[in-house]
Symmetry: C2
Subunit: 299 residues, 2 copies
């Protein structure tokens, strides 16, 4: 299996789903609907939906059960980017080479678009329309909703983002940096894997534990590699200002460990992730290849 | 029954619940936890939780089923106020006489606190801990989650807020103004009543229809009365700058209909709301008295 093909398939699949749940038009506010769609269809790689589909596949699940879940995690991710880019937060003008939402629209619309994208994630999971054959039990759907809300709120993504903002200019040690990333980006990556598994309707505690270890390792690896790319890639490849973290005096794995040690750390995490999947058969190939991709990507 | 006593009971009840779901401390970000709590405990009247409890009572339900629902609607309301007050939105320094969240903390923290309060609303409804005796079915709980997400997202509250922002300085007619308020504030008020009814686990279509008519009427009456108070009450009673809407050239019912006609309109809506409750017995007394209170409150 070539990962790139699987990634393309998943991206097309989730994009189709996202088009269905996003408002096409609106008698209330066309601008809000447009800002939401603009922010979701901005050339994102759909890594989190891919994790959802790949975890579902690992347990031999059916992809259409994973569709609303893939949508929901991508909507939460999209909302977090819109708000992270705001002037009061990271103040970014570009996101993947295109104007950020508040630049393309305005700040108030960007705040509301982020808000409504978060809401839409919960709507996608609570709408019975997206679970038509009722083969996924109500209790499994509640578990999905709970997982997503815990992962994205104050004890997950939002908490991590707040810790990140409060740490600018501070000398965090590696443990604190890890705690921050484990929440800011790690929580949603972990939730994507776990929710993909839950979307099969059958997952053992042992399987969940293995997938959690995998998700923690790739979540951290993803961040370490981001920090590496921030100093090694040029602005065009990255789609954002090279050295942006350094300019903000944000602590990074590279500033903390040095470039070479950070690269080795990322490699070790990749191996840890793959080892965690030893109890699964060939259906776990996309998850295995993804661990490798995260550490060796160039943007 | 004296409404004030019932309101006090409900307020104490929901405040107790809110204390339980809000983060008391945090190893990730204490500032975020503090900003969330600050924004929820700011002297709010808890009108939406009251609607939840009163609708539950109207159908002879048990209050403890309504607890997480009351929490959830208040958390959504609190998040919307935090974001509405931001400089890019209404740019308010005071909320009920106290510094707004971004003034007491900072803008980035206020954005995140709003985000995390929204997430917490969905967490409260999806957490099995809050529905311990499992007497409310999973399917009823999913219906609650769906109701809240639809009411607060792009086709509800967020959409209305966006329409409101885009209408500043524009000459909206009464139909457009009504459409805007029906979403901006009406959607969550309607959801509070409907979710209160759903929290009993048993509600007929006829009962839902009557409660929806009631909720639409009081939602609109609430807004008309707000517009009236904006020109008649002084700043101290109101807890915000008197004439604030006028200063922003926002269209209001008073600017559109004149003060006397707006007062009559509010009275008519109050009567319409009470009439809609004719199929219910004395258990609906709080809902009936509340309709009266909304139109005759002084702040």
């Amino acid at each position: 299996m070539i990962l790139q093909e699987y990634m393309n398939t998943c991206r097309k699949r989730v994009d189709e789903q996202l088009k269905q749940v996003l408002p096409e038009s609106s008698i209330i506010s066309l601008k809000l609907a447009e800002a939401m769609t603009y922010s979701v269809f901005n050339g994102g790689k759909r890594v989190r939906p891919l994790l959802v589909y790949a975890a579902n596949k690992t347990l031999g699940g059916q992809s259409h059960y994973a569709d609303p879940v893939a949508c929901a995690v991508e909507l939460v991710h999209a909302y977090s980017l819109v708000h992270d880019d705001l002037p009061a937060m990271d103040d970014d003008d570009l996101r993947r080479g295109k104007p950020t939402c508040h630049k393309a629209f305005n700040e108030a619309t960007a705040i509301l678009a982020g808000d409504a994208l978060q809401t839409l994630a919960f709507e996608a999971l609570s709408d019975p329309y997206h679970f038509p054959d009722a083969l996924l039990s109500d209790s499994s759907r509640l578990a999905l909703l709970r997982e997503l809300s815990v992962a994205s709120g104050h004890s997950g993504m939002c908490g991590g983002q707040s810790m990140d903002l409060n740490s600018v200019g501070q000398a965090l040690n590696q443990q604190q940096l890890q705690l921050m990333h484990n929440h800011k980006t790690g929580a949603l990556i972990r939730a994507s894997v776990i929710m993909g598994a839950l979307s099969t309707g059958h997952v053992s505690d042992q399987q969940l534990e293995a997938l959690t270890t995998y998700a923690n390792a790739i979540g951290l690896a993803f961040q370490v590699q981001d920090d590496i790319l921030d100093v090694t890639a040029d602005t065009e490849t990255l789609g954002k200002q090279q050295g942006a973290d350094d300019a903000l005096h944000k602590p990074t794995y590279v500033s903390l460990m040095g470039l070479e040690e950070a690269k080795q750390f990322a490699e070790n995490l990749c191996q840890e992730a793959v080892s965690a999947l030893s109890l699964f058969d060939d259906q776990a190939t996309p998850l295995r290849q993804l661990a490798d991709y995260i550490v060796h990507r160039s943007h």
